[in-house]
Subunit: 483 residues, 2 copies
């Protein structure tokens, strides 16, 4: 008997061909039955669906069957037949099963029962073998690919900005130091300072917090670029929303004003959400059910306004509402929850920094649409944002989504050298460290814009997962760099 | 007059539409003429080709024209007409020109003359405005996209492995330390060691040298994955081939043996080279001419065997030759350059580590094909490679390309727990740090394989550039972390 080439389970399940031989390989999810046959649910990661293997003890020896336990890797050769069971088109009548790798039932952690998310995080090296996490990480791939495809189709160039850098893009946030020194033998100068001249790069370096500034350099040459890479914050925040290492998507575009920027971001978000709905249906259905179940455990007032699929469709069905910060403050100030002091942070007036509760109110209660806020007070925004003529606001924009608040933040960049350096002085940003950034304003400056999308923030929105540690394969958080 | 929407120069040059109004924006490459009209070469990064702007001093005021110098950003509205000049289909008769940003000719560094590559590296924030570097970075985008598309089409999932890690995948190569400590106030334990418990992650951490080990974890759940991310080496090598920060592509596949692995790598390399030839023709033609010119400056014996386009076609036209390491050693030992002692490193016999000169000899002189060497001595390879029955070799493979030597290195991974731990003990790899890696061999282990492609190595091959610092936007090397 010649063994047929291995076929992936996704492909086999979507084919109608029966009565043929097939070879599938994967990991056992469950084994049940026994009389007269065993039913094995096998998964190979290509789809959330398992293929059912029917193993007749008259055909498959007892020795083999006893090793077919949850977590074991097996290779099955058999005949594909129309399935008798509900919810599956075909199954395989096993003719031969090889156990590639056993999984001792006494020790394998992912036995088929409910595990806490905390437990699964401790088993991050195995959790992708569960339905929930395999779905999440297949969707993560799909969202990454959709982003590359979106920008590629529009003529943007993917730019790899440096991870190790000597600048701290925003002057905000704590950075991780990168050094080649032995930490127990740091060389010092005569006046008692760290002698960075002896370090690998001859100066103090850290992990990037953003590729934006380098992105701007390239946009001012190639026109339209985007970065998609890791960024870092050394903030000691143990929350469901913070990671020390996370991925950012940062497009920068020459000749775009703030309005062009807002339109591009809306187009991108609709593109990737549509991509998910069209390409990840089975995984999304699974996660939507999961989210519904989870929601039911919560008190009424903490439940989501919409289900997962409804929230995704909401993005596609609505034009994003563009509202100035100033108008938004008026709406919030006069809102019921503000007057009744239901907000944790009461909006007193112009100048306030908006919290997630305010953002969600605007989206979910007031406009019932995704919202783009623009023209923020310059004092709560970064030095590189373009100053408006009112001398109070800058051309910034944030996009707000239901359930999640801010998902995108961007701005038109200040292209005027004098305005930029003046603002840098006001904010104590050292000009000499950013000489190369200022050069773009000295030589052939032009209006340009860009924004940042926190990729894990998008992942939370698209998957409905509640904790950011569950949408990145191996999360980095305070006291945790395992795997 | 309503101003038409801006059109990118690439799109305009590829259209036949004339006698229409158009608006283009970009950076001035050159301005020449004057009587009776000025000719401005304008580039916006969308293509290596400039659009010619014809500016009649009777239409465009002298004040404007004097500011149109190399490097200035301008916006041009005018009529698109068939071009009189050779090598261009259309040009624009300017009706209105706005200078968005001047570039003082006394100060703008990239004046239209020949600059050294070293000079251009010092101006990495501006060098993408040159033809050479804009071509290189457009191709870099194309190669990145082709890689994502190749794996996506085959059902692989893009996996984001951690950058900050507590393990050193290969036990080889120096790593950069990542810390949140103030370097002048490193906390020490009572016995005089660095107290990593107080550091951000509660342990010693460094920048990753490879995503492979985490990639394997995920392949053993999702089936087929690939990483595409930055990796780091703190090696003090100031060569044309080394970077402290570079990008790697690392696929890992469950149920692949070494032969499957070799076939996949060949298929991938052919796919991306074909993609370049089909999608980057103008940029490649420019770089091929550039490489030819450079080659002519070199002594005869240092010149390339083939031109750039010829080398790319060579990859597509040939089946890769699979040769065992043992056979390759015999070929090299008996080769003319070995016998005549022309190699810098003479091959004495089995066990030798091959140098670039040997790899190139096999590809360029002996087989005249790309070569895949496999089954290397275990003593010169990493602990995780699958041990062959001969007890001498491991299932490793390297792919060798003309002009460049090794471009891909991979192996079948050792899936047998006992063999793996035995090898780890022999090589002093701590088992307790890699407990999660060993778990995949304890629970549902299966044959699997993977390889690594140095993305900049691929870029050198595809662009014909001679220095790795010229194919990454902002290179990181000893004493250099500028921008």
């Amino acid at each position: 008997m010649t063994v047929p080439a291995r076929i992936k389970i996704k492909k086999l399940l979507s084919s109608e061909a029966t009565e043929q031989q097939a070879n599938v390989k994967g990991w056992v999810r469950t084994k049940r039955g026994g009389k007269p046959v065993f039913f094995i649910a096998l998964n190979d990661g290509s789809t959330i669906n398992n293929i059912q293997i029917v193993a007749d003890p008259e055909v498959i020896s007892e020795n083999i069957i006893k090793d077919i336990t949850t977590g074991a890797a097996i290779s099955v050769v058999g005949k594909v037949v129309a399935s008798q069971g509900a919810g599956q088109s075909v199954e395989i009548l096993a003719e031969n099963i090889e156990v590639l790798g056993k999984a001792d039932p006494e020790k394998y952690p992912l036995q088929p029962k409910k595990h806490s998310m905390e437990f699964m995080r401790e088993k991050a090296h195995l959790r992708m073998r569960s339905s929930t996490f395999s779905a999440v990480f297949r969707i993560r791939h799909a969202m990454a690919f959709a982003i590359h495809q979106f920008f590629h189709e529009k003529g943007f160039y993917n730019l790899h900005t440096p991870i190790i850098t000597a600048n701290d893009a925003e002057g905000a946030g704590e950075t991780f130091h990168v050094t080649n020194f032995d930490l127990d033998k740091i060389p010092m100068t005569d006046d008692g300072k760290v002698d960075y001249k002896q370090d690998f790069f001859g100066k103090e370096t850290n992990l990037t917090v953003s590729g934006q500034l380098e992105g701007e350099l390239s946009a001012m040459a190639l026109g339209e670029i985007y970065t998609f890479g890791p960024t870092f914050r050394a903030e000691n925040s143990n929350t469901t929303r913070h990671l020390a290492e996370f991925w950012m998507v940062e497009p920068e575009m020459a000749f775009y004003d703030l309005n062009d920027n807002m339109n591009l971001a809306e187009e991108m978000l609709k593109y990737v959400v549509k991509y998910a709905l069209e390409n990840c249906k089975e995984d999304l259905d699974f996660l939507a059910n999961r989210a519904d179940e989870e929601d039911k455990q919560k008190p009424q007032n903490e439940r989501q306004e919409m289900g997962l699929l409804e929230r995704l469709q909401f993005i596609l069905d609505n034009d994003f509402e563009k509202v100035s910060y100033t108008d938004a403050i008026e709406i919030l100030r006069n809102s019921k929850p503000n007057k009744k002091k239901k907000f944790n942070y009461i909006i007193e007036g112009w100048g306030a920094d908006l919290q997630s509760e305010h953002e969600r109110f605007l989206v979910e209660k007031h406009f019932k649409k995704p919202v783009i806020l623009f023209d923020y007070p310059k004092d709560i925004k970064a030095f590189y944002m373009r100053q408006n003529d009112d001398d109070k606001t800058v051309g910034a924009m944030d996009i707000l989504f239901p359930g999640i608040g801010e998902i995108v933040g961007g701005s038109q960049r200040e292209e005027r050298l004098d305005k930029l350096t003046q603002r840098m002085r006001e904010m104590d940003i050292p000009e000499d460290e950013l000489w190369w950034y200022l050069d773009t304003r000295k030589f052939g400056t032009a209006p340009h814009s860009g924004f940042g999308l926190g990729f894990e923030r998008l992942m939370l929105f698209v998957t409905g997962m509640g904790n950011i540690r569950d949408v990145i394969p191996f999360p980095r958080t305070p006291d945790n760099a395992e795997f």
